[in-house]
Symmetry: C2
Amino acid sequence: MRVLGIDPGLTRCGVGVVDGSLGRPLTMVDVGVIRTSASLPVAERLVTIERGLDAWIEEHRPDAVAVERVFARSDSSTIMGTAQASGIALVVAARRGLPIAMHTPSEVKAAVSGNGRADKAQVGAMVVRILRLTELPKPADAADALALAITHVWRGGAQARIDEAVAATQRAHRPVRTR
Amino acid sequence: MRVLGIDPGLTRCGVGVVDGSLGRPLTMVDVGVIRTSASLPVAERLVTIERGLDAWIEEHRPDAVAVERVFARSDSSTIMGTAQASGIALVVAARRGLPIAMHTPSEVKAAVSGNGRADKAQVGAMVVRILRLTELPKPADAADALALAITHVWRGGAQARIDEAVAATQRAHRPVRTR
């Protein structure tokens, strides 16, 4: 299973692709950051993120996408941009019919390090070990995207299938009105 | 000038199209709401909003789009969905190269009623009067979208042109890195 992890952000959107399955060693396929300049209008920055994510999916053809779940209680100066970027990530994946899972930061910490309150350094060290890297990818957004992808392989796969089955059942009974 | 006003929301995304220019009577072209069911995954709801907004733009070919500016200090239970929906609205408009303006709720109240702290009823009454309607469109999200479009015709046009010129100048000097 190949998973694209996305750590949404307007200035830096982390992306990381991991190959693997539960109980087998995981491999990092690619990692990086989509950057947009704060001097541009938000709409253009979001389009850049959309195109960047599309390009990553085109290139790596993931089987699933894992997006960090954003909460309103996070740092409020950047939270709106983060939420907007997460909306773009969800749409880019959903348009292609890719299974999507959202994981909270503490779920990621727990999955990767065994401790939902682990600090950045602990999570980073585990990402390096799990993927057998020589050093932690930078910036932190890139490393966080890899942690999300690892989390998805380890905990998300089964849950995504359940969610999808539930959603399909609900869709069959409740058509969406678009207008 | 034809303006599409968008009041972003995940459950109800208000849309209103207004024709007019500064100093001349304004006309309502169309108004409505894009609804998505809370029982669906967020990603699918956002795709529904994206497709709905695309259809509105296709049908009405606006010259500009006005989107309500969302703040983190708003009602936190729905704020993340609202921010995600606003991100979709911005991307849908920006992909088509449409000028986009964002107006805050108090800017809209001030533009439409002359009072930045006007209540819903006052703003609604002014929307009815300005567009010479027989009754206020419902739900409130639809009426709010019309108020946004009116605001854009009255205050946004000049500002949008200035913003665009500034952005174009910045673009020429600072290319966006996408990776």
